[in-house]
């Protein structure tokens, strides 16, 4: 059994689950479609790398700072969304990938193009975590992310986001301060992504500007949409499928990206709501199995 391999793949899958769940707040609830999520991911990774390598903090001491930093940066990078909407916003968020990447490359404080290496494994009671331990840590954060995000899905904040996500004009008439909630969405989403970034950096042990490019952002969004935007189960499942698919297709080596690109397109074509989105095959089948009425489903789905 290649257990280390499985745990490694599992760890990265977990990290991507955190990312998709975090993107779900921004894109699934608040409908601010972002193709720049890897930028927040990158900021988390770099923040943790710099705090641990340059300032000698431990992973655990750095983590709250990382969350703080990414939240703040989320607020800042969310500002354009106050002026710009829809496809204009999508394109601006693409820009975040390039701008953030360039900043890391340009300033030697961030290691420039030589990156930052020698990022330590987190320690647990004085012992550095091994592969299994790190997997456990990741799992813990995945569960925390899912639980907190599940709680959030039942709050007024989520409802407000869904409302202005669909119609800002009407949402204002409901007393919703759209600008504030947009920033909330960016900040929350970015904070989670920061944790994912920190995990990634400490697991891989090095960060380079090109680790977190535009194609990463695309992956994250594709995972969310494939799984089912607006649902946490969908976000988690999408990350699982799209992370495993190319990994599972290794047997066909050369053709794997062709096939997984094609499969992605087909799956979304046939299940536009996402594999586990509202009204998808799987969900409907599941509901039928439980013999539940549609109206009840509507009730517990805010």
């Amino acid at each position: 059994m290649p257990i280390g391999y499985i745990l490694t793949v599992g760890t990265f899958t977990g990290i991507f689950m955190i990312l998709t769940v975090s993107l779900n707040v921004l894109t699934g609830y608040a409908k601010q479609v972002s193709l720049g999520h890897a930028a927040f991911f990158a900021i988390g990774a770099y923040a943790s790398a710099i705090l641990t390598v340059k300032f000698g903090l431990s992973f655990w001491a750095a983590l709250p700072c990382v969350v703080g930093i990414t939240t703040l940066v989320g607020v800042f990078l969310g500002l354009p969304s106050l002026r710009v909407s829809h496809d204009f916003l999508v394109l601006s968020t693409i820009g975040l990938n390039f701008i953030v990447g360039s900043v890391f490359r340009y300033f030697s404080f961030f290691g420039g193009s030589m990156g930052i290496v020698g990022i330590p494994m987190p320690e647990f009671f004085g012992h550095p975590l091994g592969t299994a331990g790190f997997f456990g840590l990741t799992l813990l954060f995945v569960i925390l992310t899912i639980l907190t995000s599940f709680y959030f899905s039942r709050t007024w904040g989520r409802l407000a986001m869904e409302a202005f996500g669909e119609d800002e004009v009407a949402a204002k008439a409901m007393g919703i301060n759209v600008a504030k909630f947009k920033i909330y969405a960016f900040a929350i989403s970015s904070a989670y992504a920061g944790i994912a970034g920190a995990l990634w950096a400490h697991y891989v042990g090095s960060v380079f500007p090109d680790n977190f490019g535009f194609d990463r952002s695309i992956d994250i969004l594709a995972m969310l949409v494939l799984g089912g935007m607006g649902t946490i189960r969908g976000a988690v499942f999408g990350a699982l499928v799209l992370q495993m698919l190319p990994e599972g297709l290794r047997v066909i080596q050369n053709y794997r990206m062709l096939v997984s690109g094609g499969i992605l397109a087909l799956m979304i074509l046939f299940q536009p709501m996402g594999l586990l989105g509202r009204g998808s095959f799987l969900v409907k089948g599941f509901e039928r199995l439980r013999g539940r009425l549609v109206s009840h489903e509507a009730e517990d789905m805010p």
Partner: protein, 250 residues
Amino acid sequence: MSLLVTEGLTKDFGGLRAVDGVNLVVGEGEIHGIIGPNGAGKTTVFNLITGYLKPTRGKIHFRGRRIDGLEPHRVVSLGIARTFQIVRPFTDLSVLQNVLVAWGHRNYYGLGPFKPFGPAKRKALEILEFVGLAERAYVGAAALPIGLQRRLEIARAIALEPKLVLLDEPAAGLTEEEITRLKELVLRIVASGMTVALVEHRMTFVMDICQLITVLDRGKVIAEGTPSQVASDPEVIEAYLGAGEGEGDA
């Protein structure tokens, strides 16, 4: 006592003066009608009051407080709710959730956004009961026919617990029977302590229910008074009601 007062309210769109020095007084507890030809500026007045547009000139006072220039959500928090002429329900949400969004307006400050909304469902259902949409609570709002979407808009407005409700053409697209029910609804809203100002073209509705009517034409107030005063005003008949209309309809 006057709840809402506008002074010389004016709005220009490029070269077009859509609202021109309107002085409007809406008294507490009244049902105030605003009528006038298409393009007279009625919806624009509502947009100015609710903060969607900034006046070019003029002031708006609500309960003695200047509110012109405030953001829409601030206006809501001060106690003014509105509906839209072209309905805008949140179609991805269920009818119940639509009302919840409005009912939650007190929770959109401070730590409120991080409180669960579950406990408020009962209250939202009560409001739906009040407007007669209770049995459709779990349906997606998109599937409602136009008339019921109008009702949903009213439900949301009530859920905001405002002092003043602005209704923009609430009777458009309703049958006479439904208009009768709408009248009842509006009367109940007023009875529960709110004030209503409405824009409407269906005279059967306006004449019956309003205590006071302001008539706008080309952005200016051309008449004001009780329904019968207004309906017999020759200028109003000429500009708006047309021959043979008006009185007969009321």
